[in-house]
Amino acid sequence: MKRSILSTFLVTVLLVVPLSSLLAYEGGAVSDGGTISGVVKFKGAAPAPKKLDINKDKEVCAKTAKNDPTLLVSGGNLVNAVVSIADIKKGKKMEPQKVTLDQNGCEYHPHVLAFVAGSSVEILNPDGILHNVHSYSKANSPFNVAQPKFKKSLTVKLDKPEVVSVKCDVHGWMSGWFFVADNPYFGVTDNSGSFKLTDVPPGTYTLEVWHETLGKQSQKVTVKPKEEVKITFEIAKK
């Protein structure tokens, strides 16, 4: 049993090290990792949800009412913020992911999609109308691909870490984000504004929160072996 763990570990190291050396993050097994969890709070009065003006392809897109996703506050907590460790160089193993972006009803689900660099994103178009996926990326080469009715799915790959804005030029209100991370410690805040990062090797790190409208904020966090540390961010409108 012990030997198999050891060999798994070795194989993992062999597989991950060459890949991660490119990204300056070294992944491996973490045995005594701690957890960072917490909540991102919105400071100030929560803005009233803003209705989006659906002015095109209404028969498909206006089936459900849509709120402006660029600033969603739920119960005083901020939704769709990304919390990540900015300066971690070594930790749990990092592998390219396969993630999905769905355009159902002319809206990006999820609005903020976070994944590690090197991952593939499958983009779905179940709407039966023309969408296009236009990335405003700099580190990754930008793309702008049409996704007509007959193309139900297409896949793009993002190799370099950065935050990319994604838009549909056909439907001006559609906007989304790719958070391409350079390490596997990140989380998008859910409807209660909370996040959780697990298997963090003990140490002191810079924890960063990013939000499309409110910008960035960071704080130091110290993780102890097998303990959970609670963090609260409070972020205000600029």
Binding site: N55, L130, D169
Partner: protein
């Protein structure tokens, strides 16, 4: 036996020591001569010896590294082992036996084939003979029968032998083939190994190149002069063409070799070698070095001599960025040279700062005057402002191009009064015809707000700034090409402004200010807004009187003539005046004796120092006896450096046309067109040649900014572009910006079209699209492709009156315009990959990945069908059906 005069003692005296001394001297002198010839006076030989050592060492190192890699490569080891085995087996194993048998068979087969072949050849000869006899007999009227028989007999014999010969040949070939097969194992392995070792073995060659091998001894190559002769490159004092000899590569041996980038000089590789020294650029083995770098190319006695850094040598080595000045000797179009940014910048400053107003220079004769016309100046500006401006423009607008003439106030008043007097008649007449609309109310808040909105949305900011630091096109480091209007209210009044905005050319027929086709009320709001930017200063009561003073007017005229104001401004009565400055055509070749340093002893006596200081402080060399009038341009050090590089290229020596770069009609058109483009500041709004589009900084969404025009010549039809420039029409209805009406003359519009075509290398500006040749299946397929279920093109594209759904900023150009506007070939390129043609465009890529069930799922066929459909949209006649 005494002989008279014979001194026996003399005879017996030994001269051995003298001879010895003489011999020793001779030997020493010979050695010294040899030494001197080879070492003292030939420093380049040491350089070469050093270089060969360096070269050899580098190759050796590289070889060893590759060898180490190979030895560590299991694939290589495996191959080597296999080869050894195969060889051993061929020498003594199974294979060897087989081969022996085969070789024996081969000899036998060879003999058999040769014998048969010989026999057939004999029969063929006999046949020839028989035919001759036959012909002969027929011609002589003899009986030909016996020969006919003989021929038939021989042919029968040959027919019998032919199959045998063929069989023997096949047998022989078969055996040969088998032998080859036995050997093929080795051949195969050898080629595989050669592939692996190629990287290593090329270094063997490199080592061999640095050495001479005489049998077992090998030594470094014997040094020799490497020279390039450029026939008829120079002219001697009698204006006869003479060759230029260039021996720079005698020492700079690695100039065109990779791998020496970090070596010390003279062994360093040329920067950007792949581009600059490419065969289609400046191959050093053909053009040498001195044509660009100057120096004394033929000298090899010392580095200082070779570099021409000795007294009285007129073309010393151009060090650092100064080498860019040489580009202009051969390249007409220097703005396109990626590696001469300072030269290009210098040229832009020279052309647009107004230098050519006072100085003539070949190639710059036709640069238009850079300042505004003063013909009706009285109707335009506040007189107090005018005096302040003339006295020191930099104190009014620090970044203006107008230079400071360092005038005293009374001189400024005199010039103003002269200009006031000459513009009296025309200015007043114009004013009378242009009343301010009665409904104009200065300071009306709603008008001002509307005006501000309009200024910020229709594109004024493509040229003008409206606040401190707001700037569009910058000339040099920090000069404003177009006036900043933050204090415009100090300068002009509402009446002039209103009519100027409405139709700039009615006030000044040559102005580059375009019309934005403002409606009356629009012009009124913009005027109201502009009038909030600064207020005229209180006028000194005496000024009016001073301006009318005849003495002042007269003095003003002589000052205007002295300072050459007409070089930049159109001044009535002075249209034919010639430039007041010295000609600069050969300024770069001026010797130090020709440069006037005045009484300055603090400035080093070099061309660079003279020029730098002249540009920095133009009257620096004035003495009490020698007045200087050149005004102060307030240039930054970077601007001066760029100008200096341009000026250094104004040379007396002209490069013969056979050595020059592209001097074609097209290159001339590009240069002229670009000058016009700069004059009208097209790059304020549009990116052209990857430069400009400065208004873009005000737009977060690039789709709302003016379109970039890189590759415009390839994109649009020449005829359409001409018409559009003459009379712009909205193409992108979602833009608030307006393409202005510049009022180009036919000649100017043609020049701009030729410029865009030249940039895109358009060979044939007009192409005919024959709609009768479009197959029906294309139109059918395209109609399906553009439909809602497929590409849904009209979800964004307008088509004539049919507008897309949603807000206009989501729309795309009217496809009905395509037939007249777009080049059919360009549409294909565009559909293949829009992002490649115009990075960042809203138009998404539909290909690769067209639907499988249309036109056999072939992307290129679908693209062609779409193109044909688009080009036929909006056509009259039968094709109109396609648009439904």
């Amino acid at each position: 036996m005494a002989v008279r005069g014979f001194d026996e003692a003399e005879e017996k005296k030994s001269y051995g020591s003298v001879f010895l001394l003489g011999s020793v001297l001779l030997v020493v002198l010979t050695l010294w001569a040899f030494w001197d010839d080879n070492f003292t006076r030939r420093p380049w030989k040491q350089f070469q010896a050093e270089f060969y050592r360096l070269d050899y060492r580098k190759a050796e190192q590289a070889y060893e590294e590759e060898d180490k890699k190979l030895r560590a490569d299991p694939a290589y080891q495996e191959l080597v082992k296999k080869l050894a085995e195969e060889r051993a087996s061929l020498r003594g194993g199974e294979l060897a036996k087989k081969l022996k048998v085969l070789r024996r068979d081969e000899t036998k087969a060879d003999v058999r084939f040769t014998e048969l072949d010989q026999e057939v050849k004999f029969i063929k000869s006999e046949l020839e003979e028989a035919w001759y006899e036959y012909d002969h007999a027929v011609q002589q009227g003899r009986g030909a029968k016996p020969y006919e028989d003989r021929i038939r007999e021989l042919e029968r014999e040959k027919a019998g032998l032919d199959p045998q010969l063929e069989k023997a040949r096949q047998e022989r070939e078969q055996i040969k083939e088998e032998i080859k097969k036995v050997n093929s194992g080795i051949k195969d392995l050898e080629t595989q190994i050669a592939k692996l070792t190629a990287e290593r073995d090329k270094w063997v060659k490199a080592m061999e190149n640095a050495t001479l091998n005489a049998g077992p001894i090998s030594f470094y190559k014997i040094p020799k002069i490497h020279q390039v002769v450029l026939e008829e490159f120079d002219r001697n004092n009698f204006d006869q063409p003479v060759a230029r000899v260039d021996r720079c590569q005698t020492c700079h041996m690695a100039i065109n070799r990779a791998g020496f980038e970090n070596e010390p000089q003279p062994f360093r590789t040329h920067p950007r070698r792949e581009v600059l020294l490419a065969d289609n650029a400046h191959p050093p083995d053909k053009v040498g070095c001195a044509p660009c770098h100057e120096g004394q190319g033929a000298a090899v006695n010392s580095a200082r001599q070779a570099h021409g850094e000795i007294p009285y040598w007129e073309h010393p080595l151009l060090r650092g960025a100064k080498v860019q000045s040489s580009c202009a000797s051969c390249h007409l179009d220097v703005q396109r040279l990626e590696d001469a940014p300072l030269l290009a910048e210098g040229q832009r400053i020279f052309e647009q700062m107004g230098c050519t107003g006072c100085h003539l220079a070949q190639g710059y004769e036709d640069v238009p005057k850079v300042g505004p016309s003063l013909r009706r100046i009285r109707a335009k500006v506040d007189p107090g402002w005018m005096v302040r401006w003339i006295q020191n423009p930099h104190s009014v607008r620090p970044r203006t191009r107008m230079p400071n003439f360092s005038l005293k106030e009374d001189e400024a008043v005199a010039i103003a009064s002269f200009l006031w007097s000459i513009s009296k008649e025309e200015g007043e007449k114009w004013l009378q015809e242009q009343p301010l609309p009665a409904s104009f109310r200065e300071g009306d808040k709603s008008l001002v707000a509307k005006g501000k909105d309009l200024v910020e949305s229709i594109g004024c900011k493509g040229c003008h700034g409206f606040a401190e630091g707001e700037v569009s096109t910058v000339l040099g480091k920090e000069k404003e090409l177009i006036p900043n209007l933050k204090n415009i209210g100090e300068k002009v009044g509402p009446r002039w402004t209103y009519h100027w905005l409405k139709n700039p050319r009615s006030f000044s027929p040559e102005t580059r200010m375009p019309s934005l086709r403002l409606a009356d009320d629009e012009a009124m709001t913009v005027t109201a807004y502009l009038m909030t930017l600064g207020k005229p200063a209180d006028e000194k009561p005496s000024l009016e009187k001073q301006l009318q003073d005849a003495k002042n007017i007269k003095r003003g005229e002589s000052l205007v003539r002295k300072y050459g104001c007409f070089g930049c401004h159109d001044i009535p009565g002075m249209e034919k005046e010639s430039r007041i400055g010295v000609e600069l055509t050969t300024f770069g070749s001026k010797t130090l004796e020709e440069l006037f340093f005045g009484n300055r002893t603090d400035i080093p006596i070099t061309w660079d120092d003279w020029t730098t200081n002249k540009l920095k402080e133009p009257r620096i060399y004035a003495t009490p006896r020698v007045e200087q009038v050149m005004p102060h341009f307030n240039l930054t050090d970077d601007d001066i450096k760029a100008l200096r590089i341009l000026l250094a290229g104004f040379r007396e020596r002209k490069v013969p046309s056979r050595y020059r770069a592209d001097q074609s009609q097209r290159a001339v058109q590009v240069v002229e067109g670009r000058r016009l483009m700069h004059q009208y500041n097209c790059i304020g709004c549009h990116e052209i040649e990857k430069r400009g589009g400065f208004i873009g900084k005000y737009y977060e969404n690039p789709a709302l900014a003016p379109p970039p025009l890189n590759g415009e010549g390839e994109k649009v039809q020449s005829g359409w572009l001409f018409g559009f420039l003459k009379r712009p029409i909205p193409i992108r209805p979602w833009l608030n910006l307006r393409m202005p009406t510049f009022g180009f003359t036919d000649e100017e519009a043609n020049r701009l079209v030729a410029y865009f075509n030249g940039l895109s290398k358009v060979e044939i500006p007009y192409a005919y699209f024959d709609e009768r040749k479009v197959p029906k299946e294309h139109l059918d397929a395209a109609r399906i492709l553009v439909s809602k279920d497929f590409f849904n093109c009209f979800s964004c594209h307008q088509q004539g009156e049919r507008k897309p759904e949603g807000p206009p900023e989501g729309w795309a150009p009217d496809l009905n315009l395509a037939k007249d506007r777009l080049n059919p070939e360009w549409i294909i390129k565009w559909l293949q990959d829009p992002q490649k043609v115009q990075p960042g465009t809203k138009m998404p890529s539909f290909y690769p990945g067209g639907p499988d069930n249309i036109l056999g799922g072939k992307d290129d066929k679908q693209i062609e069908a779409l193109r044909n459909y688009i080009v036929m949209l909006g056509r009259k006649g039968p094709a109109a059906a396609a648009s439904r």
